[in-house]
């Protein structure tokens, strides 16, 4: 008859949850992140003498999550882009749990970073880079489906990296069983940034679901805007987060183009600007030729008056 003390119960809990101390190649150090299905550790790659991030399946999750982790690794391998964290290796720990190794991102999460960026232009530049990475994934047939501040890291040199592709969908036929739902129908994703059709558990999820999330992120970033720019950005957010996905931007690059138009003072497709605002914008855009023409006309008038 086995007796298990309270201390032994705690040890068993900790030991069955903690991964083995490493592999032939990687030494595991502290935990740096945790999600629904996996735990990310800082690790040291002895073969290449560098720090990396190692994501391993949590111990008490099942075959479904294991398949998600493997799918995430394959998706990352298919997405080589400076805005998408790079995968380096896959394997299994001594206890059988699968893992993959990726670049250790040194930086901070988007929401923490922008706290220290009070002006609009650098915020919108980050957003542009984010849209670029997401559009790249969409072109490769991958939809992220969980874009939110904690999944976006800003590196030390301002690089934008999209993380956590655990519930991403890659090249799946419409109506097929979908990875944003677990077997018992639980919807994966994060409310507030999740498109309504995704929250409702629809299997017909496309790139416009990510456009919705980008719109929600833009809403956060645009909070410091004012005047015409604020009105235009609000219109862009409203279009990107429309409840009806057909009313949204159909591509991330279209959304990014409208945001760039705000920065450049050009026409924004989502914003029906009043005539005086349009006149003002055009006057500002063509201020140099207008100034030249005005100067020329003034000179002519002056000459005319002088010749009399």
């Amino acid at each position: 008859m086995t007796w298990i003390s309270d201390a032994a119960i705690e040890r068993l809990r900790a030991e069955t949850e903690a991964p083995p101390r490493g592999t032939d190649r990687y030494d595991l150090h502290g935990e740096i992140g945790r999600g629904g299905m996996g735990v990310v550790y800082r690790a040291y790659d002895r073969a290449l003498s560098r720090d990396v991030a190692l994501k391993v399946l949590a111990p008490s999750v099942g075959a479904e999550a294991e398949a998600r982790l493997r799918r995430e690794a394959r998706i990352l391998a298919a997405l080589e882009h400076p805005g998408i964290v790079a995968i380096h290796d896959v394997g299994s720990l001594a206890d059988g749990r699968p893992f993959y190794v990726m670049t250790l991102v040194r930086g901070e999460q988007l929401d923490g970073h922008v706290q220290r960026v009070p002006s609009l232009a650098p915020r919108l530049r980050l957003f542009d880079r984010l849209c670029d990475a997401v559009a790249f994934a969409h072109d490769a047939g991958v939809i992220h489906r969980d874009l939110k501040p904690s999944n976006i890291m800003i590196g030390r040199f301002g690089e934008v990296l999209v993380l956590d592709w655990g519930i991403a969908r890659a090249g799946q036929a419409a109506g097929a069983p979908d990875a944003h739902q677990t077997a018992d129908g639980t919807v994966l994703g994060t409310s507030g940034y999740m498109a309504p059709e995704q929250a409702e558990g629809s299997t017909a999820i496309d790139a416009t679901a990510d456009v919705f999330s980008l719109g929600a992120l833009l809403r956060d970033l645009a909070a410091v805007a004012s005047g015409r720019r604020r009105r235009a950005l609000d219109a862009i957010v409203a279009k990107a987060t429309a409840a009806d996905r057909r009313a949204r931007y159909q591509r991330a690059q279209d959304l990014a183009a409208d945001v760039r138009a705000v920065v450049d003072g050009e026409r924004v497709s989502a914003y029906a600007e009043p005539w005086f605002e349009r006149a003002g914008r055009l006057a500002w855009t063509y201020r140099t030729p207008i100034a030249l023409v005005a100067a020329y006309l003034l000179m002519r008038v002056a000459l005319l008056l002088w010749s009399r």
Binding site: T2, D6, R11, E15, T16, P59, S60, E66, A94, G96
Partner: protein
């Protein structure tokens, strides 16, 4: 346990809670067996320690309780949306003990459920060697003893598996490193274990990994049996094995 995937969740199957209400007598019998296996330790400890009954009384009452649960179809009243199953079972146990006290001497002893008397006697010996403090919260107390029982049963099953697969070293290392309290809170290093067992550190790592993986798989399989839904299973798995559950 699903073949080929020792870490995987056991496949979904009708829980014992539902099977125990089944019209199929074989399914009901199997379910009662699983229910008894999972709960006899906390039930016995509850009667023996919290209610201070003698060993003989506690053994009889434990048998009688499970018999009544089956014969009187008490579990039909269980509503998963209102409480965890073990809370419901503890309330049934409280009611049973109150009635038993009132009808003392009139209850028939034993019945269709048989828990191995040797197990009860051995468990009683362990209770005597490891006194359990009684606190004021019966729910928390019953839960803790349920967890202890589940872990203990999983260790017993692991021992059987290790014997079958000739993994004596894995079991011995697991007992020394994870179960023994003799060394105090400081655990021996893997190197010290390797010297003590005259094996390599690598062997210690691999054998312990096997034991923990198998232990976890057994735990999850037992737990799955006891839960009425996948949601409840995940919640319980998170409670038992840490926050990384699905």
């Amino acid at each position: 346990m699903s073949a080929g995937h020792p870490d995987a969740f056991p496949a979904t199957r009708p829980s014992i809670v539902r099977a125990i209400r089944s019209a199929d007598s074989t399914a009901r019998e199997r379910a009662l067996d699983a229910l008894t296996r999972a709960y006899w330790r906390p039930v016995y400890a509850y009667i023996r320690v919290r209610f201070g009954r003698t060993a003989e009384d506690a053994q009889d009452l434990t048998q009688e309780f499970f018999t009544r649960v089956l014969e009187h179809d008490s579990l039909a009243a269980y509503d998963p949306s209102r409480a965890r199953f073990r809370t419901f079972l503890r309330v049934c146990l409280d009611r049973f003990l109150a009635n038993e006290h009132r009808d003392e001497g009139r209850l028939k002893r034993g019945g269709s459920v048989r828990i191995e008397p040797l197990n009860l006697a051995a468990f009683d010996g362990e209770l005597a060697r490891h006194p359990i403090a009684v606190d004021n919260d019966p729910e928390r107390w019953f839960h803790r003893e349920w967890v202890r029982g589940l872990f203990a049963a999983a260790v017993d099953a692991l021992a059987a598996r290790a014997a079958h697969e000739q993994r004596d070293l894995a079991l011995a290392l697991f007992r020394r490193y994870d179960l023994d309290d003799d060394a105090g809170p400081e655990r021996p290093s893997y190197a010290a274990l390797a010297r003590s067992f005259e094996v390599s550190v690598n062997d210690v790592t691999n054998q312990l990994a096997w034991a923990r993986r198998t232990f976890r798989a057994i735990m999850l399989e037992r737990l799955r049996e006891l839960c009425d839904s996948d949601e409840e299973f995940r919640r319980e798995a998170r409670d038992l094995l840490g926050p990384g559950a699905a």
